[in-house]
Amino acid sequence: MATEEAFPESLKTLPQAPVSEPDFLHVTKGFKSWAFTLDHKRIGMMYLFGILFSLLLGGTFALLIRTELWAPGRTIVGPDTYNQFFTLHGAVMVFLVIIPGIPAALGNIIMPIQLGAPDVAFPRLNLASFYLWCSGATLLIFTIPFGGLDTGWTFYTPYSLETKTAVMVATFGVFLLGFSSIFTGLNFLVTIHKFRPQGMGWFQLPLNIWALYGTAVMQVLATPVLGITVLLLTVERLGHIGIFDPTMGGDPVLFQHFFWFYSHPAVYIMIIPGMGVVSELISVYARKPIFGYRFVAYSSLSLALLSFLVWGHHMFVSGQSRLANMVFSALTFTVAIPSAIKIFNWVATLYKADIRLKTGMIYGLSFLLLFTIGGLTGLFLGVLSVDVHLHDTYFVVAHFHYVMMGSTLVAFLGALHHWWPKFTGRMYNETVGRSCALGVFFGFNLTFLPQFVMGARGMPRRYWDYDPQYQIFHQLSTIGAFILGFSIFISVVSLLTSLKRGKIAPRNPWGGSTLEWQAPTPPTLYNFEKPPIVHELYNYDDLVEVEPDRWERITDAPEYQAEAKKEAH
């Protein structure tokens, strides 16, 4: 039903904020009430601020890298410092921002509400995960004063065994971060299995929850391998046990296998939640159900499972057997299929839709375009003979930035804007949000499109110095990076200022049909004042925009309720 249509005036007077009890932000006060909270929303918000801080740090490193690469040779720093920049950029962005970004922060805040649950299954474990994340993050960041870190975020042996930088601190930090991730995944799996309310069958689950489910499977099953690997690396640094050290008979390539057995699924741990939130964004802002819901849901799961079988494609030129290369190449291509299905379904959702270009939707559409590029360039790398040429060049750098940043981070920003009013109770500035979203899209492409060309022309990655023929591409890239960084910074600042100055947010500003929009804004301690009613998923027929950025369900009008009661009698 469209906005212009008549709707009962009484809808306008429905309460927006919690009535009978304070919202979760105000239920208790003081430092302790946050530090020891078991409320998933508060834990999620603490994650969120930690992640935004890490994003600032990782972004700073990114800009330092891009500045250094303005010209061949030394621009601002020498090679050692540069190596530390790209290592810390990678480690901070991967382990502290992108992996926990959507699941641990936004997932923690939104998923139980969206599911209709009062909390996650194990609130104490949830808090423990957060503190593990904090400890891991502290250790990782503390490598900076303790000798830096210059191994690359992949910690490849034997270089990571011989470098004099603080590898042990970092790997132990990553070990803790790994367990934080495992516990979050475990918690989500149990929550999704055991906390679905009446009427919420598996195929009434929002696609965001399907995506988080797939992510959690990978978190629980892949991260332990990273855990043991970095633990062995830590012990190797500490006691020279020799398991990865070729001088003692160890096998450095075994490290790569172990590392990518985790880190390939990790790529999907990063991207699948992005796909989940984009499904929500597109559906809500296009006012249409996601086309081919089941195919999208299944493709999330099949991506999660296939991701365990393709780790070897990171090692096509590392000396593994041709048979292994063949198998991994074949399996890698299978990953392309569910990704393609998703894209086609999202595009089909836009057909005959009513598209509202809110900030969230601009990010959602950016995601579609960027992920398409990221996915298509992945085909180049899956073709064995082409990968030999492109492996470890800027082509790969650009490819995975399109996937990890262009897709995941863009989805994260979209999700942040989408749900920001729900958990903070404030509206952000739409104009600033939209301009920044466009800035992110433009800056991102300017940064990374030239890198595809550079890479195909043979510019290897992790290079402090380069041949002058690449300079023009590097300079374009650097300009793009600053536009990108500036846009993200402004949008985050705008969000933060809205905490004080933003308009009070209604219960349902975007007309979402999933359960979180039934909860008061901000939600109460156990999320709902009254048990939520599970309506047909992604059905927007009953929703009307009673005033700009405020939607209500017609059936919630007192008149309807009264009539329904009468009929029941």
Partner: protein, 450 residues
Amino acid sequence: MSDAKHDDHGGHDHGDDHGHGHGSQSRFIQHHYDDAQHQFDSGKFGIWLFLAQEVLFFSALFVAYVLYRVHHPEIYSYAHKWLDVKYGATNTAVLIFSSLTAAWAVRAAQLGQRRLLILCLATTIVCACAFLCIKYVEYHHKWKEQALFGHLFDPCVTPGGEELITKKNHCDGTKSSVDYDMAADKPTSGCFEISKLDLDPNRVGIQADCQVTEVQISKDSKGKDVEGASRPITDRCDDELVDLLEKIEGGGHAGDVPTHETAGAESADEKAHHQKFPCWRPSYQPAVCQDLTDSAKRAQGQGSKPTAGILVEYGDDEVHRDVKIKATCKAPATVAPVADPMADKANVLAEGVKAVDPAREISTHEEFELESLGPPPEHTSMFLTIYFAMTGLHGIHVFVGIIVFIWLLRRAIRGDFTPDYFGPVDFSALYWHIVDLIWIFLFPLLYLIH
């Protein structure tokens, strides 16, 4: 909703009265669960996921085990002999029994048999502790034999951990050694390379009998150049010190050198000097060095020339390169040709052992060597690395299990567990079973090779 006030022990600290109702029978049912069954089911699903995670956590080590075993079977068949099947088997029995008591504890908790529950939990804890004690004995044994991982693998040391020439004894630090070139009949000061060290008595040069005769320091502890600070070595430390002082300070005390005995107590001055100029000792027993890196060449008698090593102690502050050591050696007696190393094993063994250390016993390592296997293959330490990594990680899990079971025991004594609420016992027992299961895989893989 009426029972929300019972929730305070359940762990959520909000303390408000709002929420979903659950027909709870136990005060440990947390607020956000519908009822006891809901909480139990969630916990059970959670612990199974955790166990899946545990299996994958160990899986990398199993993969490493398999890969290295496929590529280097000789390492495994050689090195597993360091492990004592008796200890391993005992530990297996102990763990299986503790698994039984853990399972029994669950049953007892379900039936509300509190005493039996306490007994079972206590037995499990005792068994777990016994397991760790036996593990300690095993580890200690290997520590003594230097059958350790990575660079610490140095089984040439005598049993009992006596100081012989081990890797720790070379280069910068407190001790160093000198290589003596038999052919050129002159010592070349340098670090001992552990890879060149062999205590196998069936090798050329075992009888080399060297004595350090002179030590020269080119720099003092502060890094200043010292001219001519050398003198012959004697057995007496005090003489050493005094004489060295004389040399360096240009005499002055000639004639009435205060010996350790006459001076009574050391003056502060002397102490300072003592720190600055350390005590020199003569060499230890000689040992045989031979290039072990290329066993094929050795078999053909083409290994590098044998050199003898002599161990010398010097001060903490000295750097190896600042110390020059001279030694005299008697020419080595010729031993049976290397081509047939096992020709007359027994004889040579007796002779060799005598020459190396008259008083010591043969180490387990040497026993294997002499029995059939020869010296350890290259990278033998890899087996021990995997052994320590796997059993060490497993040991940590046992340790965590002990803590968990002590917590359970405390709660059981307090009477927390009822037929409605026994989740923690059930979940911990499942954890304990996986720990047990992992050991059941480790035991044959590590101890029962062949």
